[in-house]
């Protein structure tokens, strides 16, 4: 099918883009990489009256390492994350996860901000942001605000962004390793074919000391609810103890209990619930052994 008619704007300045979003509010959609919005428009699941194409807006893309963390512009293509030596070195978790996003032709266009703003529950980038305690910047003609990743997803395809707001960048605080402890990570997802949406995905981040005792734990699951979710119960079960096979199995069991996935044509709720524990356990194994 073909998109319905819309008015098209391609601003080159940020203020111009924000002005257009402010003026048109709910009638407007920002067009980033177009890898989610364009299919929805072609299928007429989305019929925005106004499309504000932000591909020509200056200053919205790039990867910058600062003192406290890495800042990634909203229009940074997923492919640029994948190719970035800086990302590979400082956030190997992201480098490992990004190739799982669809296919390379999609990642050539798809953006970091677009994936966040679209908020598909099975998407990798929102889950990575949640696991990495990202701060998301939203700008509008009214000003700028920062939204914690944990407050960003409000449910299925719904975010904390107001209709006049544009997601402009994501800031990822460094995972600081001190002399006594080090951050370790694991990433797992399962899908029927490479490039498909994840049926279930798990991210594990552990700060381990020299005796493998866990000082801090983060477990983020995706594909198993309305949005990515941290599992505080499983995280708490790991802190203060060695992350051995028993601890990993216990945490995995708690993950499986905590998630409340739905059934669809791709997998049943029972399957997703069971596999959540398996993915979490394997991500924890990778974190401990990697």
């Amino acid at each position: 099918m073909k998109p319905a008619k819309f008015d098209y704007y391609a601003p080159v300045a940020r203020d111009e883009a924000l002005g257009l979003l402010g003026q048109h509010g709910y009638d407007a959609k920002a067009l980033a990489g177009g890898q989610s919005l364009m299919p929805m428009m072609n299928l007429r699941l989305a019929r925005p009256a106004v499309v504000v194409d932000i591909n020509r807006v200056a200053g919205l893309s790039g990867i910058d390492s600062g003192e406290s963390g890495m800042t990634i512009g909203a229009m940074t293509r997923q492919r640029d994350l994948e190719r970035s030596a800086e990302v590979r070195e400082r956030f190997p978790l992201i480098a490992a996860a990004v190739p799982h996003i669809a296919h390379f032709q999609i990642r050539n266009r798809g953006t970091v901000g677009g994936s966040l703003a679209h908020s598909d529950p099975a998407a990798e980038i929102p889950a990575l942001c949640l696991a990495l305690d990202a701060e998301i910047t939203a700008a509008s003609s009214r000003g700028e605000r920062t939204i914690a990743a944990g407050d960003f997803s409000l449910g299925l395809l719904t975010t904390a962004l107001e209709p006049d707001e544009l997601l402009t960048e994501v800031r990822l605080p460094w995972l600081d390793s001190d002399g006594e402890s080090q951050w370790r990570w694991g990433f797992r997802e399962v899908c029927r074919r490479d490039g498909d949406f994840a049926l279930v995905g798990a991210i594990a981040l552990l700060r381990l000391d020299g005796d493998n005792v866990c000082r801090e734990a983060r477990i983020a699951m995706f594909g198993v609810g309305d949005g990515p979710a941290r599992i505080p119960g499983a995280e708490a079960a790991l802190v203060g103890r060695a992350v051995d096979a028993d601890a990993r199995a216990e945490a995995a069991g708690l993950v499986s209990q905590a998630v409340d996935p739905g059934s669809d044509i791709h997998a049943s709720a029972e399957y997703r619930k069971e596999v959540s524990g398996v993915m979490a356990r394997r991500a924890l194994e990778d974190a401990v052994s990697g």
């Binding site: 008619k5 177009g34 072609n42």
Partner: protein, 155 residues
């Protein structure tokens, strides 16, 4: 409603221009306005890969771009592969290995393989499998396609 929008782009080394509605996809512009019908449209929502072309050197789905977004861009479509009547080595390898039957998906496979071999010459079988994961063939099967791409090696 908005007036038609004037666009210009370079396709396979040649300059083209047009006046288009904002909602016209790049794939439809290529096929219906420029008569470059080598680019095929299967699913029109980014799943099948038949419409894959290169935009500013990167393989993308032309059904998920608006024609107006390609204003000023440099494109390469399947028509840009052959040199006159002489098939590109990738096309010749597809022919030799029987990597097509109906040919509907072929333009997308060729453009995907072109980008793949340019970025990663002489890929392993599993790298080829991964690389063509975003293109669907419904009749030939993938084994001859993989053989043709591996045999070509570089572009």
């Amino acid at each position: 409603m908005m007036p038609l929008i004037e666009i210009r782009m370079t396709v396979n080394g040649r300059e083209y221009g047009g006046r288009v509605e904002s909602r016209l996809t790049l794939a439809d512009f290529l096929r219906n306005e420029l008569n470059l019908t080598g680019t095929h449209l299967g699913c029109e929502h980014g799943v099948c890969g038949a419409c894959t072309i290169l935009v500013d050197g990167e393989a993308v789905r032309s059904c998920l771009l608006l024609a107006v977004q390609a204003d000023g861009a440099t494109l390469m479509t399947v028509e840009g592969l052959a040199d006159g009547d002489e098939l590109h080595p990738l096309q010749a390898a597809f022919q030799e290995n029987h990597a097509l039957q109906c040919g509907f998906c072929t333009p997308g496979f060729l453009m995907t393989a072109y980008a793949l071999l340019r970025d990663n010459p002489n890929p392993s079988e599993s790298e080829v499998r991964q690389g063509i994961g975003g293109n669907i063939c419904r009749c030939t099967g993938y084994a001859p396609i993989i053989r043709a791409i591996q045999q070509t090696g570089t572009v």
